[in-house]
């Protein structure tokens, strides 16, 4: 089942997904001819692709999914110089939480988010709350327990 929405992606992630899409399409063609494409033996290939090798249904589902993402993609670009002091998509934000803990989040689109690695979605309550604020600002996220995030640093790659 495909989702009808716009997908915000960093250039790095977009490149990864395009490569995966090309490899999987080549695999689909090769499988109809009973072959294995040469790219399939490349050592830098994501090992997870192997799971698609013998499962045509899963292969088709993933190709459809990638096609939908690539059709509805919006690339996350670094902001212009005078906007780089504001939290936006693609920013790495260092924060102090409730005046005690320190942490760093990278804010990306939902597809690329991996909260266990500190990469959070712009649609999560914390990601959403930080957007648009600047260094030194205090951002409060409440309900039911209030937490204050003080922005210490904003970086863009």
């Amino acid at each position: 089942m495909t989702e009808e929405k716009q997908f915000y992606l960093t250039a790095k992630k977009l490149k990864e997904l395009k490569k995966e899409y090309d490899v999987l399409k080549a695999l689909r063609v090769a499988k109809t001819k009973g072959e294995v494409p040469s790219t399939w033996e490349s050592e830098d290939l994501n090992p997870e692709y192997l799971s698609f090798q013998e499962d045509l249904n899963f292969l088709e589902t993933r190709i459809e999914e990638l096609s939908n993402i690539l059709k509805n993609v919006a690339i996350i670009k670094s902001p212009v110089k005078n906007k780089r002091d504001t939290v936006g998509l693609g920013a790495k934000v260092s924060v102090e939480i409730d005046g005690q803990d320190k942490d760093q989040f990278m804010i990306v689109g939902t597809l690329e988010a991996n909260p266990s690695l500190g990469i959070i979605s712009n649609e999560s309550p914390v990601g959403k709350a930080l957007l648009g604020f600047r260094k030194g600002d205090e951002v409060s996220v409440s309900s039911p327990i209030e937490t204050v995030y003080k922005i210490k640093k904003i970086e863009y790659s």
Binding site: E54, R62, E65, L117, I120, V126, S143, P144
Partner: protein, 211 residues
């Protein structure tokens, strides 16, 4: 048939394996991994319908997502910093552990490798078609390769969050602040966020948690 009997016999062990998050919080009547799976599957089905997802795929995913824990064990974000001393541990449970980028990557990689090996060991003797299906569903869940995979990653966690509120209501623990700190970074699906808001209303109508 012998390999199927062995497989289901192994899976039965999940009924007696308490979830580690409740063990380190010294909770009474600790829920087992199988009990978590039961409600997570129901939630995946009923919430997944609202999102027009492939229900067969998401229910199967829910049923297999923690099978690897039979060999890999259950893990929590606290494991690498957990003190043996009970009082220090109780203090730690009131906070959400924060790690550097390098530490996060190492913890995540180690967990993934351990669980992948555990799953491969468990399904090794099954027929190739079912082995493939289980492995692919697990990979989809782990990597979020499909809308079902991405939605179930959140459903799985929201089931655990619901359980933590039920325990808090009954036993006044685990401390709720770390759960909210984590939840507001982790969840982003609009339906799941709406569900969490409804849980908040139900469990904190009379008394809000302070820690």
């Amino acid at each position: 048939m012998k390999e199927l009997v062995d497989f289901f016999n192994n899976i039965g062990k999940l009924k007696g394996m308490p979830r580690r998050g409740w063990v380190i919080n010294d909770l009474k009547n600790k829920e087992s991994i199988a009990e978590h799976t039961f409600r997570a599957a129901l939630m995946a089905w009923i919430l997944g319908r609202k999102k027009n997802l492939n229900i067969e795929r998401i229910i199967k995913m829910a049923l297999i997502h923690d099978l690897c824990e039979i060999y890999a064990g259950d893990t929590t974000p606290y494991d690498s910093v957990l003190p043996k001393n009970k009082k220090k541990r109780q203090r730690l449970m009131k906070t959400w552990p924060r790690f550097s980028e390098k530490e996060r990557k190492a913890i995540s990689r180690e967990k993934y490798i351990k669980e992948k090996k555990g799953l491969e060991k468990l399904i090794a003797k099954l027929s190739p078609d079912i082995k493939k299906e289980i492995k692919n569903l697990w990979l989809d869940y782990e990597k979020g390769l499909s809308p079902e995979g991405r939605f179930f990653r959140q459903t799985d966690r929201v089931e655990t969050f619901l359980q933590s509120m039920e325990y808090w209501k009954k036993y006044k623990k685990p401390p709720q602040k770390p759960w909210w700190l984590w939840a507001r970074e982790f969840f982003d699906d609009p339906l799941v966020l709406e569900f969490i808001e409804a849980m908040d209303k139900k469990f904190h109508k009379k008394k809000k948690p302070r820690v």
